[in-house]
Point group: C2
Chain length 449, copies 2
């Protein structure tokens, strides 16, 4: 899994699990992982640096990353059969930095989780869909060889429509009734809704306790579990109440995707496509070639897409944690998308479905402004359709519904709605309130009856 | 008001508002304030330093502070007749540092508030008791000469029993219905309950907006408005849900105390007495002499007590913002006190009343442990009685009620309850879980039937 950002020598070592350049062979996967971690981090930093360079037009060492893409991904053994050494993407936030572990079978490696648990008490927050599949495994990973740790769990109803204060209170109730104290750890086990709610609960319980993310959907693995945005919805808008609160680690076991419904898979891919559009043309090209493999759940293709997405997200978050500018670009299509989710009712469309239609609208508007050429419009439509994602909002959405919800978007500043729009060659965007209102009106009218 | 920490020359200038050592006389109070601010800050830093030294037994330049106490306070003109130059206590938290302005008539100096407002929209959060007395004045201070700013307000029911999620949601509802955006400012106008709820709302609204404290009770002015602890109660315990979130400034207009009920005044004095007990023997001695003046609301005595309390609090918060150790000492009596508030029902006793009885219990336990001599026990009882505060818990409190609530206290770590107890000469305390459980049992049994 780690191969795509490692040197050829490491690539062989990691993908075969047989040969190694270490003087003594590792006795266990964990041992192997620990001894390899430094060189892995160096490679990732190089990849991160090169993606910066690339966006400025100098391809330089990014070659190394792209050379390992499609062909090599397919050539590797399936990753969902055995535990693997995790790829690690670091989120660099000073004393709040943390690792994202990515790989197959990571929940079978208890030390990964346990070294990030504080205190002796853990509260796992999950939902009715994920609990039957994953909860036992997570409890086992938390307690294996670690009898002093006790684990409580709270199982919430599944779905965006439960991402509200009433459901959040159930987490507080459970934590307080269980008499958890400041030295406890909250674990989010589920998709984006669980991660956002558990994260906000961890931020607010006793004014802040330790927190681990175990995302189980593509959406959560490539986007929402990374970067510390937590929160709940208000009846008038999405994510209007929350906190910036970073986890202690993110553990992405790609095996959790085995049971993910088709629509959820596609929904997550909308965010993957987003990274390509806003800042990573090479990744977008990789996706254009590999969308069939991603849709077929090729484990290596998925792992590569997750890793590359996390690298993009980690880099943006490191540069702009509190979203004063750059980070907002991650919201391409989200302002239109949130309007769809709110106007259409939470839970009718999945988040990524709404974002997909929203991205089409943002791209359409960018084209109307003359900021991109029509090839980008076409490639956006093509890739979204290849991912079986919607390319228009629901028919019931009106111009007024869009305008009403967009007026309470968090990106409004002093009354002015700022949008993320593409500008220039593929992989470039702007976050701006400086655009012709006529183009926005035209886009809204073009997509609403 | 600022006199007590200034040099004699400044003292004369500030208290008479006539003579000054500046080459050109200031044309307005604001001008005067601005030109004086630097020297004022220097003096405060010296005072802050000296209180550190004092706690280590070296009285040094603290003499300057104590020499200006009772006699000079009484010699100054009443401060509630005209606007004064504010005393400024700085809370030093790096890029989240902020000033506390203390003085009479500060709400008549719009520039003080306005320079801390971000954006063009303000939400004032207040309650049914304070709104009729102060809201117009605050709205006027926010908008005077500043027509671009629009002010919304939300008036909550008054009392600790409303410090809950339902009431908090009314703040979010108002903010969202008013379409406030990230560049808005929340203003807390009221006592500790309003400050805590408004602060938490500001921390969580759109993941954090600007926030100003205008405390209107002694309790809020000497304690809760300073230091960024925000939150709400859960039915099973106080302040269990919240955030550390620092305000942009704290504006203490001592005129707001003119209409404060007697019980509220005494309740706030409990926290003033606390600073003396845990870290400032000299301040405690000043209080012993000046309690009659404080109870009679001598404005200068009150202003001095507020300033000295804020200096103590600011110093502790600067050294330990997130309460990893030192800051916990500010909770002397609060663990017992919270048990009283929770067991007896929020709002039956005021916070300071519960803290007063709690401090007596903590002092009793410290004495049973052999950590303090009986003169401290007697002086504690005497000063609390002089402030007309309770010295025993309500008769209905049982040992079991105390134990049950204390088990969910935030200071429990890995199951061990840590307490703040006095140890050594007056003005010294420890925060520890290392005490004989027998002493705790004996104290609980001594105070419960």
């Amino acid at each position: 899994m780690a191969s795509s950002s490692l040197s050829p020598k490491h690539l062989v070592s990691l993908s075969t699990h047989r040969t190694t350049s270490l003087s003594k062979p590792p006795s266990t996967a964990a041992d192997f992982f620990l001894r390899f971690r430094n060189s892995d981090s160096v490679s990732l930093r190089c990849s991160s640096l090169s993606s910066q360079l690339n966006r400025n037009g100098a391809p330089a060492c990014r070659m190394k990353v792209s050379a390992t893409s499609a062909a090599q991904v397919v050539a590797q053994p399936p990753s969902n059969t055995t535990s693997t050494v995790p790829t690690i993407v670091d989120v660099d936030l000073g004393d709040r930095s943390y690792p994202i572990y990515i790989g197959s079978g990571l929940l079978d490696q208890p030390h990964l989780l346990q070294k990030h648990v504080h205190g002796k008490r853990v509260l796992v927050v999950t939902n009715t869909t994920v609990a039957p599949i994953c909860l036992d495994k997570v409890v086992s990973a938390l307690t294996h060889g670690n009898p002093n740790v006790s684990v409580e769990s709270v199982i919430l109803p599944d779905g965006e429509k439960y991402k509200n204060m009433d459901t959040l209170m159930k987490v507080f109730d459970k934590a307080i009734e269980s008499r958890l104290d400041r030295r406890c750890t909250f674990v989010a086990l589920g998709g984006g809704v669980i991660g956002d709610m558990c994260g906000f609960a961890a931020a607010a319980f006793l004014r802040g306790v330790n927190f681990i993310q175990i995302p189980t959907t593509v959406m959560a693995q490539v986007d929402s579990s990374v970067g510390g945005k937590t929160g709940i919805n208000h009846r008038l808008g999405k994510n209007l109440i929350g906190a910036f609160y970073q986890p202690e680690c993110v553990l992405i076991d790609t095996d959790t995707l085995n049971t993910l419904p088709e629509r959820e898979l596609a929904s997550g891919l909308a965010e993957v496509i987003k990274y390509g559009l806003i800042r990573d043309a090479e990744f977008f090209e990789w996706q254009e070639k590999n969308m069939p493999a991603l849709m077929a759940r090729d484990p290596n293709a998925l792992a590569y897409a997750i890793k590359r997405s996390c690298e993009n997200k980690a880099e943006v978050v490191s540069l702009d944690e509190k979203e004063s500018g750059l980070r907002a670009t991650l919201n391409l299509g989200h302002t239109f998308g949130h309007a769809i989710e709110t106007g259409f009712g939470y839970g009718q469309w999945l988040h990524g479905e709404a974002v997909a239609a929203g991205m089409v609208m943002a791209v359409d508007m960018s084209y109307r402004l003359g900021w991109i050429d029509d090839s980008i419009v076409k490639r956006t439509l093509d890739i979204l359709q290849a991912a079986k994602l919607p390319i228009t909002p629901p028919e019931t959405m009106t111009v007024e519904m869009f305008k009403s919800v967009m007026a309470v978007d968090k990106k409004v500043a002093d009354g002015l709605l700022r949008l993320i729009l593409l500008k220039g060659p593929l992989g470039n965007c702007v976050f701006t309130g400086d655009y012709d209102r006529k183009a926005l009106d035209e886009t809204l009218h073009a997509f609403c009856k």
